[in-house]
């Protein structure tokens, strides 16, 4: 491991603080919006904002280069979860075309202490994750879509996020830098 890697790795926070802070945020959103669908959207948007910045941190820590194929991307996403949330989702259910896969979570720090009340069954509690994936991949010229197939909070045995490759984004020059 490189010297810088070790230095950066030291910065950790207790996952309960993270869990409860996220919980407070979701609770607040549920209070502020009447519609659960709007809460899902807002969580995704927040995740997107986090993702576009988190990817830099990922690249700085891992020093990883371009992905060769989408399988490569899947592994990097998996290692991202390890670095940032300390969990390793399994990669499964590849589509025959190799453009979609599932991430399965046995445990998830976001949902520790969480129970969904009946009126929140449409809530995608962890929807922030799909936003993070979209934001992070967009910054490395990939458009991906992701959604929940299973959710432990809704009594499924695992939480499964489906991730699908949409297209490669062409290099866009930031405004004012031509």
């Amino acid at each position: 491991m490189s010297r810088t890697g070790a230095r950066l790795d030291a910065k950790k926070v207790n996952s309960e603080l993270f869990t409860l802070t996220y919980g407070a945020l979701v609770t607040q959103l549920l209070k502020d919006y009447e519609n659960v669908e709007d809460v899902n959207k807002q969580l995704e948007r927040m995740g997107y904002n986090m993702g576009i910045r988190l990817i830099e941190d990922f690249l700085a820590r891992t020093g990883s280069g371009r992905c060769y194929d989408f399988r490569d991307t899947a592994e990097k996403i998996q290692s991202g979860f390890k670095i940032f949330l300390g969990i390793t989702p399994t990669i499964t259910n590849w589509s025959p075309a190799g453009d979609a896969f599932s991430l399965c979570f046995e445990t998830n720090p976001l949902t520790e202490f969480v129970e969904l009340p009946d009126h929140c069954l449409n809530l995608k509690y962890c929807n922030i994750l799909t936003g993070v994936l979209r934001g992070a991949c967009e910054m490395v010229q990939m458009e991906v879509a992701s959604w929940f197939l299973q959710d432990q909070l809704k009594n499924d045995s695992v939480t499964e996020i489906r991730v699908k490759f949409v297209k490669r984004l062409e290099d866009a020059i930031p405004a004012g830098e031509d």
């Binding site: 603080l17 993270f18 009594n155």
Partner: protein, 191 residues
């Protein structure tokens, strides 16, 4: 025979059947900082002034605080609660701070001129680590979130107080207890 649905979710194992986590797992600081940043931005978009923003942050902190109280009392104190004012402050300075932020708060002080007021001082507040306060919002301290946590814990422990965050020696949390709390504590001492 058709059954009557009472709850849409069939409980597999309730959350209370699981054993209590030990609280040792960690996530990366950047991840937390970005989440906190989203939280602050969200609050900021819904208010007009700095005090309003701080109140909003404190409200959300309180959500965290209420949950921490039970968790820590169960896990760290085996269900025993503090009844003395000083012990409850020390509980916050050490136990609460250690579990939330990985280390004790730097200092706990008693105001010279007011027996209701205590200060918890932290040189570098975790939530402020990556926050740069814009010039036009000089007094804003996002550690109001932490102040909200502390206030909720104190009130859940039966020591209602007002807690605010200030820029002083890093971040200082000013804890101002209700009169009743001080009176009760004096009575305890006299016995």
């Amino acid at each position: 025979m058709t059954s009557i649905t009472i709850s849409a979710v069939r409980p597999r194992t309730s959350i209370l059947d699981k054993s209590l986590s030990k609280g040792k797992s960690e996530v990366s600081l950047s991840c937390y900082a970005l989440l906190f940043s989203e939280l602050v931005q969200y609050c900021q978009n819904r208010v007009y002034t700095v005090p309003e923003l701080q109140n909003k942050l404190a409200e959300m902190g309180a959500e965290v605080g209420h949950r921490m109280t039970d968790l820590l009392v169960m896990r760290e104190k085996s269900g025993k609660r503090e009844v003395k004012l000083l012990s409850v402050l020390l509980f916050i300075k050490s136990t609460v701070w250690k579990s939330l932020f990985g280390r004790e708060a730097d200092k706990l002080e008693h105001a010279n001129d007011d027996d209701r007021t205590y200060y918890i001082i932290e040189k570098e507040a975790l939530v402020n680590k990556f926050v740069s306060v814009p010039k036009d919002k000089g007094s804003l301290n996002c550690a109001s979130f932490t102040a909200g946590i502390v206030e909720a814990i104190l009130s859940d422990c039966g020591f209602p107080a007002k807690v605010t965050a200030h820029w002083h020696k890093g971040t200082t949390y000013m804890v101002k207890f209700d009169h009743a709390v001080i009176t009760r504590d004096k009575q305890l001492e006299d016995r």
